[in-house]
Symmetry: C2
Subunit: 469 residues, 2 copies
């Protein structure tokens, strides 16, 4: 920990104070607990914290932060640990503040179509609870089975439904959070409109746990759409699949999902799931979902999508009209990340461009891959212009990998930015992308962001070594 000598170590006295603050049972220093919180889903990175604290109340979060603040100890907030940019990695040691015990759904308010939750609620569990009463929480990250809503806010998680329904920030109408010095703050509520002071909620969302620890969340809900249809559409070329995306949108159809999957990704997912899919030899697939309350409207839109896709070069159209068949397709889609990563050492990039620039981005990524001799497997939320580029080491030598990886990523990001894009759409900058941030954000804005960080955290104890290069 020499390089982080700006912080102080977690002493026995600190451990005692933490135990007093949140209860003995909520403070862990055993090897297993530290090990568990050393990693998230980002590559094979691991950084041991010195202690893991899991408060059960917002007041507990305040107490932990007060101790950390007074004793100059770094604190890394941790949700479900499913992050892909290393946001939950305790890279400076210190305290991991886990929200796993702040996991209550406080209220599903059917009268106001709102919910109030704690940050440790698992996204899928929340979705299922609201669906039981005919309501709908659209944000739907691939990790929804284990990620936490608090983490979704921290990274402004998106997922496939963003193309129609927007991302996490579009559903959060208020937060309660704790600042690094232990001060509890509150903003917004069950309100669809609010211009009463600056929008602290929106500043905290997407700040990757660097400004405050979220302890309560107000979420907007929608009525659950009654019907959905899912289409799997194979294409003979990646280009044809990508250019079908704007063609659909420009016909006035807004699907509830519009996903693109490259052949290699589908093949890897087939293997990973020990299953086979029809047409998995196609160069690329679009996975399209259309939802709504009127089945005939959905059917009409589906037909129109099929026509457009066939005109753009689709080789077939497969309709999943039962929920079992739909589930199968979405299991495939959600397994892509894990499948691709199980094959090889990898780096994942989370590029986002204006939707129509998906074709040049894809073709450019392939050209860069070829030039550097690297393997890239692409999939993602084509409807949002959000392309996940997985760079796989495969059988490259260690030297080749080390020499080529960084310049290849730089080129991919430069291309992304030149196409009007940004280097993270929904995974965040976190730990692993921060060195690339200056490719996307100029010194002026970086300086402004750093000064905003200082307003919340002048000691820099909260999630240090994240976002900023």
């Amino acid at each position: 920990m020499n390089r982080h000598s700006s912080f102080d170590p977690v002493t026995d006295d600190i451990i005692t104070a933490l135990k007093k603050a949140v209860g003995k049972e909520n403070v862990q220093t055993d090897a297993e607990a530290l090990e568990l919180c050393a990693s998230d889903e980002t590559e094979d990175l691991a950084f041991q914290p010195e202690v893991v604290a899991s408060p059960e109340t917002a007041e507990g979060v305040c107490r932990i932060l007060r101790i950390a603040w007074e004793n100059n100890i770094p604190v890394t907030p941790r949700g479900g640990g499913t992050g892909l940019s290393g946001g939950a990695l305790p890279v400076c040691g210190g305290i991991v503040l886990s929200t796993m015990k702040l996991n209550r759904i406080l209220e599903i308010d059917q009268k106001n179509l709102m919910a109030v939750v704690e940050p440790g609620v698992i996204t899928q569990e929340f979705q299922e609870e609201v669906e039981k009463v005919g309501l709908f929480y659209p944000p739907d990250p691939a990790s929804r089975g284990s990620c936490f809503l608090g983490g979704n806010l921290a990274e402004c998680a998106g997922g496939p439904r963003a193309v129609k329904y927007g991302v996490t920030k579009d559903y959060v109408t208020g937060v309660e959070a704790v600042m690094p010095d232990g001060t509890l703050i509150h903003h917004g509520g069950k309100l669809l409109k609010n211009v009463t002071g600056y929008n602290l909620t929106q500043l905290i969302i997407g700040s990757e746990g660097t400004l405050a620890v979220i302890t309560k969340i107000y979420l907007k809900l929608l009525p659950l759409p009654r019907y959905r249809q899912t289409l799997l559409i194979p294409f003979a070329s990646l280009e044809a699949s990508a250019q079908t995306v704007p063609a659909i949108m420009n016909a006035g159809i807004v699907p509830s999902a519009l996903e693109l999957m490259e052949r290699d990704a589908v093949k890897m997912a087939e293997k990973h799931l020990s299953t086979t899919f029809p047409s998995s030899d196609a160069a690329a697939h679009l996975l399209i979902e259309i939802d709504g309350n009127d089945i005939s409207t959905i059917e009409k839109a589906s037909e129109q999508v099929c026509e457009i896709a066939l005109k753009e070069g689709a080789t077939d159209v497969l309709l999943a009209d039962t929920s079992a068949k739909q589930q199968e397709l979405w299991d495939l889609r959600r397994a892509l990340g894990e499948a691709v990563k199980s094959v090889s050492i990898y780096k994942e990039e989370d590029t986002v461009v204006p939707r129509y620039n998906l074709v040049p981005l894809l073709l450019g990524v392939k050209e860069i891959s070829k030039r550097y001799g690297i393997t890239t497997v692409c999939y993602g939320h084509a409807g949002d212009g959000n392309l996940h580029v997985n760079i796989l080491k495969m059988d490259m030598s260690e030297t080749e990998w080390t020499d080529n990886l960084d310049p290849a990523i730089e080129e991919i990001f430069k291309l992304t930015v030149s196409l009007g894009g940004m280097i993270s759409g929904e995974h965040g900058i976190g730990y692993v992308q921060r060195k690339y941030l200056p490719l996307a954000i100029s010194e002026t804005e970086l300086d402004l962001m750093k000064r905003l960080k200082q307003v919340f955290d002048k000691k820099g104890i909260l999630n240090p070594s994240k976002i900023f290069p």
Copy 2:
């Protein structure tokens, strides 16, 4: 200007510098120009600026702010001057920076369903331009015929369609803006997802021109819904109309507008427009619009709305199925503000509560009015829980008005907050509501907001005496 002695006056040298910076023709000091920029639509307030500058480029905005920054001169950004909380009032004198010449629609990008505009574009003109190519920009403030998009961002304007489509912040994917010291910053772009650093765009939206002057805006567009139907539904009691609102939403119907108008408001609008409306004697009306791409779905939803309304106590249902009839109803609705204000000296409040709390808010406002002997006329966006409460002086004596107004407003705001609400939904705090802000926001959050302001504007020259009490 004694009370604002912290600023320096605009000298002849400053005028010369401003003229050099943005051209002689864009700097005005004549009485007429100063008079024009002394007021917005907030009550009868007027504060003379010392000079009006109307730059034609972002670089011009930078130059003006640099001069102001170096010379310690207050700058009040001004859009269409339609604000209702005094956000554009130059209460400390100095420079009014008008965006009226930054009025180009730079791009309507049909391929990406995005637009890029300057802040001085009139909202309605922009809406009409995008509709010409089959696209849709939903935010729809009542002043859309003269308000500017830049002002819409500054106040996070909403309007009737927010119930289905959200408010201004939900359509802004990026901004270019100038900080008070003249530094140009840029955030976001034509991007539907972006977690590349803190969300500066969302921090600037709703900051009421106190953090930066917006010079370019990236806006998300939707495909234009093909059909709409409008219903005017009279009720024999205000309570019955208000409780119909959540009943509709809870049936899974999301209208594109759900407006409530009290009898007095309708009567005043009739007089103002020299027209008569059927059923204008009803205690209250709901004005409901349903839009979509499938006429049969809309018709089904309309029928369902009618059934619910009749069950809740509607006395009739009037359908406007032609665009002429729809126009007539919306003209009535948009005229309410002006109509009510033409009757008497007034104060307008912009309360917002969780939707289901509209009934207790309305009844409470009426009870408070009675107790203080004041006249209140209410209308607003019931679907969002956003109620505009107009307090009219009518024939009250000056003393009675002065003595009762303030305590009555305080009670209304305290009631609003006790119902989980906030004191501004879409008009902003600006100049006239700032003394009430502590009723809604605690010292802790106020202090945090002030420190955020300082990051942008440590000299406090940009839109001083706004928001903060």
